[in-house]
Symmetry: C2
Subunit: 239 residues, 2 copies
């Protein structure tokens, strides 16, 4: 029976053996949501890069660039870390490649490369992630991007949401206390995910940045229920 | 306004600045509970030591010794990690010093020495910890011992229980998502803490070791409501 585990912080990744597992990289607010949205909007592939310098270098080679640090767009790039940047008719993105660098999400991804498969998950594509896991029948590790190493509520809740989907499909979701805690929180949030998240530190940061629309978009389940970004070599593509 | 924060794993301690804070070391199952119980039972002071060798060396100098690895008593020591070891009339402990080394608890303590004050907390002495925090009026960090670096449910729930006590006393308990999550879980557990914990990995380990009585003892609130072990130099003493 494959197991689902939830890693609450990239700083705890050394405790896990990623080999043979599916790693689901989760940065609900906002890198995961933005990457899914960009690919659905027609971006051909996404390079998740660690540094702003790499991002700029890919821009010089013709990529669209998106970069964020501490929640605000980094200077000198085409876009920040808002999914709405890819939904603006005035700025068509179809057919372009994208290089993206964010505070937490891209860093979590780059620390998970030992996994058998690396995919991007958020509430926006929960069903796509669940379907992929079911099809793979491998152990799954949800890698919460967190905030600079700290636990964050929204990424952990996604772990609970995925556990709630995969438990009835035969995955062991009682294997670790982090998964149990995530499941408890998900059941507690019930039908009001935005309400549950309103207190969270990231939401307060976003609201302070007047990005409340981003928050609501990121907290909605299955807007892109079939979109699964999968890492192939150095780039994310839709499966 | 002083703040309460919850660190879910000793491996996340590098993210926190402990200076000026009260560190509450929490290993509910079972080191915290056992240390409190030992001191209440008349042990004069407790040396929390990292290695079995140090523990044995203190034993050779006349200390009682207690040591556990992976949930079972380590060989060659007077006691294991069960609080009942200190409540056995056939083995009086009054007036003795104790050296203790456990898988997670003593290690968490030794990584928290930069704090202004280091105390031991468990459900067994929740009120004593809350009273001390209120009196100190300093920021508090709950250091969950976890299990070999992993998140564990019972220590995190203690963080929620302490937040529920200190919030109404003017502490900021909405400062971090880990505190919010711990509070949510505590409220969810409600009046049935043992029931909520029954699924947890540590409880399953204890039950497999036929230590169910230990579990129930450790999950009971305020059995020793006035007992607070405080670190003075190299030893824990009752305040």
């Amino acid at each position: 029976m494959p197991a689902l585990d939830v890693c609450f912080s990239p700083d705890l990744l050394p405790l896990y053996d990623l080999r043979g597992r599916v790693a689901v990289i989760v940065d609900v607010l906002r890198a995961s949501t933005t990457i899914v949205t960009a690919l659905v909007a027609g971006v051909t592939h996404v390079f998740p890069v660690g540094s702003l310098e790499e991002c700029a270098a890919l821009g010089a080679q013709g990529c669209l660039t998106a970069a964020e640090r501490d929640g605000v767009p980094a200077e000198g790039f085409d876009l920040g870390n808002s999914p709405f940047g890819f939904l603006d008719p005035a700025r068509p993105v179809r057919g372009r490649a994208l290089a993206i660098s964010t505070t937490n999400g891209t860093q979590a991804l780059r620390r998970s490369l030992a996994a058998e498969a690396v995919v991007i998950g958020g509430f926006v594509n929960l069903t796509a992630v669940a379907n992929f896991a079911q099809q793979q029948q491998r152990d799954v590790l949800v890698v919460c991007a967190g905030w600079k190493g700290q636990f964050c509520l929204e990424d952990s809740l996604f772990g609970g949401a995925l556990a709630a989907r995969l438990g009835p499909l035969g995955f062991d979701v009682a294997h670790s206390d982090s998964t149990l805690a995530a499941l408890h929180m998900w059941h507690q949030a019930g039908d009001d995910l935005p309400g549950y998240l309103l207190q969270s530190a990231a939401v307060r940061r976003l609201n302070a940045l007047e990005a409340n629309d981003d928050f609501l978009f990121c907290a909605k389940v299955d807007t892109y229920a079939n979109a699964l970004p999968l890492l192939k070599d150095d780039r994310l593509v839709l499966v």
